[in-house]
Symmetry: C2
Subunit: 104 residues, 2 copies
Amino acid sequence: MTEEKKDENEMTEEKKNENVVFIGKKGVMGYVLAVVTQFNNGMSEVILKARGKLISRAVDVAEITKNRFLTGVTIKDIQIKTEELTSEDGSLSKVSAIEITLAK
Amino acid sequence: MTEEKKDENEMTEEKKNENVVFIGKKGVMGYVLAVVTQFNNGMSEVILKARGKLISRAVDVAEITKNRFLTGVTIKDIQIKTEELTSEDGSLSKVSAIEITLAK
C-alpha cells in the first residue's frame, strides 16, 4: 500500500519543469528523449532527479544519453540526499534521492 | 535466465577487498555494518560499489551510514559508469554502475 502511494507521488512529479527531468515509472528511453529534447531546446544543463528504486534508472538515463546520443555531454555533478515523505495517513518515511547534472 | 546469471556474478563479487564494499542482494543494514566496521578498523575512506538495480541500495547505504551511524563521514565523490558483462553464452550486456566514496 505504501509502495503504491509512493508510485503515485512519483507519477505526479513526472511533469517536467525548466531543465529538470523527474525519473518515474516509464521506460528508460522516454527519459533519454526528454533529456535530448531539453538540450536541443538550448539548455546548457539538464538535471535528472529520482528517488528510491528509480535511482538506478536515473543512472541508466545519464549513461545512455552521454554514451549513445549526446557524446559532447558530460556528467557535471552528482548529489545524493535523504528526503522525507509524508504519506496520506500522516506517517513519515525517508527515501534516498539522487540529482545528476548533465552539461554540454 | 540472464537475470539469474547476473545475480551470481554479484554474489561472487560480494567478498570485500581492502576498503571496498560491493553491494549485493543482502539487506541494507548488513552493508551499513560493513562500512562502519571498515572505518572502525582505521580506514579513512570506504568505497561502495554497485551495479544495475542495486545502485539505489548503495545510495541507501551511504545515506544511512552518514546520517545515522557515522555523522563525521562525508560523501567525498560519486562516479557513475557503464560496465560490460559477458554472460556464459558469450553475449555482451551493458550495465550501469556507481562508486560512492565515503571519507571521514
